[in-house]
Structures are given as structure tokens and as C-alpha cells.
Symmetry: C2
Subunit: 458 residues, 2 copies
Amino acid sequence: MKRLTPSDAMFLYGESREQMMHVAAMMPFAPPPNGHHDSLRELMREIRGAAVHRPWNLRLRTPDFLWNPLQAWVEQEEVDLEYHVRRSALPSPGDERELGILVSRLHGHHIDFHRPPWEVHLIEGLDHGRFALYVKVHHSLVDGFSAMRILANALSSDLDELDRPMFFSIPPPARAPRSDGEGGIHFPELLGIVREQYGAAKSAVRAVKKLVDSSRAGDHEFVTPRQAPKCLLNARISKSRRFATQRIETARLRAVAKAANGTVNDVVLALSSASLRRYLQEQDALPAAPLIAMVPVAVRAKDEEGVGNSVGAILASLATDVADPAERLAAIIESTTNAKHMLQGMSKAAILQYSALLLAPSMLQMIPTTAGHIRPTFNIVISNVPGPDQPLYFRGARLEASYPMSIPVHGQALNITCASYAGNVCFGFTGCRDTLPHLQRLAVYCGEAMNELEAAVR
Amino acid sequence: MKRLTPSDAMFLYGESREQMMHVAAMMPFAPPPNGHHDSLRELMREIRGAAVHRPWNLRLRTPDFLWNPLQAWVEQEEVDLEYHVRRSALPSPGDERELGILVSRLHGHHIDFHRPPWEVHLIEGLDHGRFALYVKVHHSLVDGFSAMRILANALSSDLDELDRPMFFSIPPPARAPRSDGEGGIHFPELLGIVREQYGAAKSAVRAVKKLVDSSRAGDHEFVTPRQAPKCLLNARISKSRRFATQRIETARLRAVAKAANGTVNDVVLALSSASLRRYLQEQDALPAAPLIAMVPVAVRAKDEEGVGNSVGAILASLATDVADPAERLAAIIESTTNAKHMLQGMSKAAILQYSALLLAPSMLQMIPTTAGHIRPTFNIVISNVPGPDQPLYFRGARLEASYPMSIPVHGQALNITCASYAGNVCFGFTGCRDTLPHLQRLAVYCGEAMNELEAAVR
């Protein structure tokens, strides 16, 4: 038995009919050179008798009482792999659109807490003999960033390695690191701080007060967050999801970043900004003031030596009030540069505290009784997670892309998470279908914005 | 705006993470003579612009507050048919097993109350060019028996009628009859009475007391229900569903019924009994006392003239303690005959009151606070619903069978509902996947029991 940390329990408290606290990845694969159309069916047969290691064999002790203060993870003796690993198929013509529709639908279904809270879907029927995996994990079991790392670890960099077990059959490392210090962005660490505050304070309102007080009292580096404009992105959500993707070569992003004297991350923000601006304009819903994004960044604190890797969160203007693409990018770069400067002048502890404070209001939205009543200090979270550079294979099939799917909550109806993989940046737009009609346009506009931006900085 | 009746509201109160109060039908179709593999895709295109009539355009006024005492149905101006009508596909080999797995999964997903609470899935990829419909409706909008009638009405008895609109595009009849008096079993009427009692009494416990009191005081025909044995069928349920089907020619059922001097319904009970007995024995879980089934029947009340068609519910012994198939059938016939005799000696009002009393405990189970604390007076509900005799077509494709999918609730983990169609009786076994492992065996055993029974009565 393993008691839940306050941080993990937080994601159970948030779970409701409309808010589903699971993350996922959508991973299309090229057909293996010697594969045949029934290889997924054979994989299923093989999987049926496979071992299931921690944490994939853990389930909640009281699934009917999610709010149980003594909630714990217990080991399930026999994991019903026929339940957890599922085969699905796309209707004709099996194109990207159909794949998007299916995973949007899968992402809108609740996890069953009477079992270990994860699912894998093997999706066949994609065009050109391709297939896809959709892997879903509840955030109370494994955070999204760790899940992405575990998934990458279960794939092989060797085309010819055909017998690597599925991720749930790989024994955990002797000591599971929650943050690996390898230059990644330690979002979980950051979330952990906010959530520990909730755990200690027992009441959400007192928790926020405590965060604000400690920031004010102990540390004069504290800066009041900018006020984000009212926007339809910050409405209550309903149950259905829509997911859209875009993939852009890192080399293209890097070229634009270099020309504009910014970072790849700045260009990611500029593309998100351009597509949001166009999408909101079409609906006559673009606020006059620029949208504010909360962006996790890696910075060096003033008390760190050498190459620092503290994680922090900054608030950046998306400059959605600027019409010209090049000027918009310049405004974004100025905003992120200032925000990072401010962070770098802080101690490591202050960075964490400040960043946690920024996150707090959106965490509060997760609690049903406060949902929709707190004005967010930002309009959207945009994350860019570093991933593996080399191509990965699953039983000889090449992973084409790896799209992260995140969690819309009340007050944050859209999430943009990007992951880099093998020379590309994979954009995942996860949103509430009702709050954001035709969300897939955001992905299309994002691709078109890239062309615009290249033309503008040339 | 249309206020919910207490009866409809009841099904909202019962809705929870584990209890989903929707019913469904699974309908496989033979390929149309001139159909091609993309005809479902074309159908989707056609449907997109279709009209949506009542009740299919109604949604809850406060979907985030299901228990709202002022809950009402409101018309949704624009129904998002791309949401409600979905395409799905079976993975290879597209056989009955894969179809069963897919619809089991679909039946375990919650309805979205932010929209009209229904869904249609067009399922392609069945073997031999076949396809299937899975139609799901929340019981608060339309009860299962009305839904089956509406679906049948949307199909054609004419192979060549290729332009009949989908069921949601057919305008409702001038006055929608809740019970049509055509010899069907008026289960909705019966449920209505129990649910009105809840509505009037405002508390579930007082409602049952009132039912018992009125039965005792006003009517000496009241007979104490038999005590059902404890059985694993009567456990709490979890979120996942399993659905299994069996189809048996009515002529075979009729021949056995005739030989044993019983009814087709008695043979349906005997088949259910045989498969339950074998299934429970395998798990070392067969109670010593016979299982008790609650069975809706059509009877003639003593104050009715001519051919009566009052609906009633009887408690019948399934004689699961009897090893010999012929003796078991005889015991069941004796039990149902006695129970029907008793009903026929009552007035119409008394039949309804008595039947409602039988149903009451299982309705109570639906309310989360009482779930699992009330000992059921029966172990399972087995219904046999009359359906159309002649073959029906959907755009030239012949409906092969129509399997009803019902609602497992806490305390009633399995439901058996049968529907007759074109010379067959279609059995639908709907259960909780966790409470009843390998539920599909029930369907297999049911088929084998038919052979046994034929041999035994010969």
C-alpha cells in the first residue's frame, strides 16, 4: 500500500463529469518493413500473458470515494490486460482527420478507477498501412512528463529490436527519479509545490492566501502577475474533447528564431499566438489587450553556479493585439526576455515560489466549488517539452511523431503542449469541444502562420 | 421548455460514475445488394444537414446540476450531428467477438448531458461486408421500450425504400403515446408508477413505506414477495460493461413450449436459468435456493373484459436448484403459472400497485445513498419484449437482429432483455464486467441450453 501524496490526491479531487484529469500521447507509426495487417492482433495475443510492473499495477484503494483522505494505491494482483490494452480501427479513409476524431473521442471518456488508471489503444486502419498508439494515464498515477519519458524508454532506437516489451512490462528503475536533472523542464516539481501547499493548508482558499502571504513577506522579489484579459478560453468546460495536431521541422523554427534574435520557444509562442489571434478574430472574440500565456521555462537562478536548470514559470504576452507577424514575434521575444531576466535575478527558492503562485489560480479551478469563480492570471498554458532527438522504433515500426494530449479544466478550456522528436516539434492542441468550436482550425492556422513568419523575417 | 416528470428525473438521480442510466440497441445489418464500402461515409455527409425533431433536440437545462429540482428539457437550436452520429470501425477480423467488445466499451461511456442525451454509432468493418448500428439513449429522455419502437419505425419493411430519413429526422406523431395498447408489455407505465411515488413522497425511504402501506391497507390481495437468495448478481457494480448476445429461432422455442405445456416466455426463462446455473456453478457461486427473477408479463385483470392487456410484474422461481433440464422447465412453468393466476385475480389497480412494489427495491438501489444496502427481493430482471415479425431494411440493407442493451445498477449487476424480430428471439445480456467475469459465457451457455432442452422434452 502506498499513500497518495497531497499532490497526487489533488488530481482526484478535480476529477468530475466534465473535468477529466488524464493525460495522453498520440503516436502514429510507419508500417514495419516486414509487417502484415494482422501484426497488432498477434501483439495482443502476446501481451495477454505479459507481466505488469509498478506503477502500472496500482489501483485506488477506495475507487468509489475519490475524496477519501486516507486514499492509497494498492497493488492489483491480476491486471486484466484485455481491458487495459485495446484494439480499435479507423473508419475509411483512415486519414489524419479520422484519427483526430477517434482520439478526441477517446480523450473524452473517463478512466475507470476500479482498475489501474491507464489504457493503451492500438489503432489500425490508418492509410498506407500505418497504425497508431493512444496511451492514456491518470495524472494522479503518473504525471504527463514522466509518462512521455517512460513511453520513449519503451521504444527502441534500433530498427531491428523486435522483442522489446510494452512499457508496462518494463521493471521500474531501482530509484524512480521524479526529475532527472537532464535539462528537461521540471514541471512536475513545480506542480508538486503548489499541490503540497494545498495538502498542508487543507483548504484551497487558505492555500492561495498562504502562497501570496509567503511570497510577499519573505521575498521582495515578488512581482504582481499581469492581469490577463477576459477571453472565451477561460470559460467553464463541458465533457467532450477535441484534439488537433501540427508538426513543424525544428530547423525551420530555429532559422526564424535566429533571424529574430529569439529562441525556438519564442517561435512556438508566436505560432500559437498567430493561430489564436486568427481563430478568435473569426469569432469576433479577440480581446483588445494581448493574451497572456503561462510558460514553463528552464532558467539559472542567481544562487546557482554553472549551467542552471531550475524550473520556473513565466507570464508572457502573446502580443495578439499586434497585426504584423514580425512585430508580434519581436514583442513576444521582448516579453519572454524580460520575464526570464526577472526570474534569473531570484534565488532558486524564490523562483519556485513565484512560479507556484502563478499556477495557483488555475489549480484552484480544478476544485468544483471554486471552478469558474476565479479570474485567471493568464489565458492559456503553453508548454514545450524536450524529447528524444533520434528516431524511435516499436517492433520495427518507426514512430512518426509523438503528440502530447493534456487536460483542459474549468477556466482553461485550451491547452497547447509541444514535444520535440527526431527533428520536429509536435504540437498538441487539446480543448473542450463546446467552448472552442472547430478547434482543429487552430492546428491548420499554426502551420500557415509558420509560412507567414518565415516570409516576414526574411 | 418542458419540466421533467419525477419519473424521468429519477434516472438522473441514479446517474453516477458507475451507474449509467442509458439503454441501447445493437443492430447488425446484411450488406445492401448494391452497396459499396463507402456508403456509410456518404450517409454521414447526407446526415450532416438533416433536421432534428423532438425529442432528439432536447437537452437538460442545467447539465452541471443533475439533481436540480427545477430540471427541465430545453430545445437546442442547433444540434451538432457530427457529435451525435459517429463512425466507428472494427479491428480485424471484424467478427461477432470484436463487435461485442466494441459495443461493450461504448456502453460503458457516459452520455454528455451538455447535449441531447443520445448517440448513434455507424460501425463498419464487420466481416462479409456487413455493418452495424449502436444506438444509445439516456433513459431520462426516452425509455428503452419506446426507443425500440421508434427505431423499428425508422426502418422500412420495403427493401427498395432507400431514402427513409434517420430516426431523429422523423417528426413525432401528433400525440406521442406512452403505451400503445397493441399487446406489448407496458413496462414504462409500470416504472412510471414507482417513480411517481418517489416524486410524491420526496424521500426514497418514505416512498417504499407508502407503497407497502397502501398495498396492505387497501388491498388484501397483497402477497409478500418471496425472499431471493444472496447471489453475486446482487453486488455493487463498477464502471465497465460487458455485452453478449444470442439469437434463437422462435419456432424452436415454440416447439419446446408446446411439448412442455408452457409459453415461449417460460422457455426464455428456462434458457436464462440454465445458463445462469452453469455460469454460477463454474464459479462455485450457485445459491442452494433457486434464483428469483422479476418478469414483466401481460395479464387480464379480473375487472377487465375481453382480452386484457394490463401489465404486471411477477416473481418467478428460475429453479436453478434443479439439475434436470425438463424438470427445471416444469418447475419454472409451475411458478409462472401460479404467479400469473394470482395477478389475474386482482383488479387492474391492484396489479399495478403490487408490481410497482416488487420493482421498488431495485429502483431504490439506483440512489447512491441507499445503493447496496437493500436486500433485493429478486436476483435478476428478465424481460421479453415483442418486436416486429417481418424483416426490416435500412436503405436496402436487411436488419439481421436487434439486441436490446439495458442498465445494470448497484444490486442488479446483470440484466437479460430479449426482443423478438422476424422469426427470432434476440437475447441481450448486459452486465458489469468486474462483478461478472467472462459474462459472454452466459450467451454461449444459453445457446447450448436450447439443444439440451430440445433433447430433454423430446
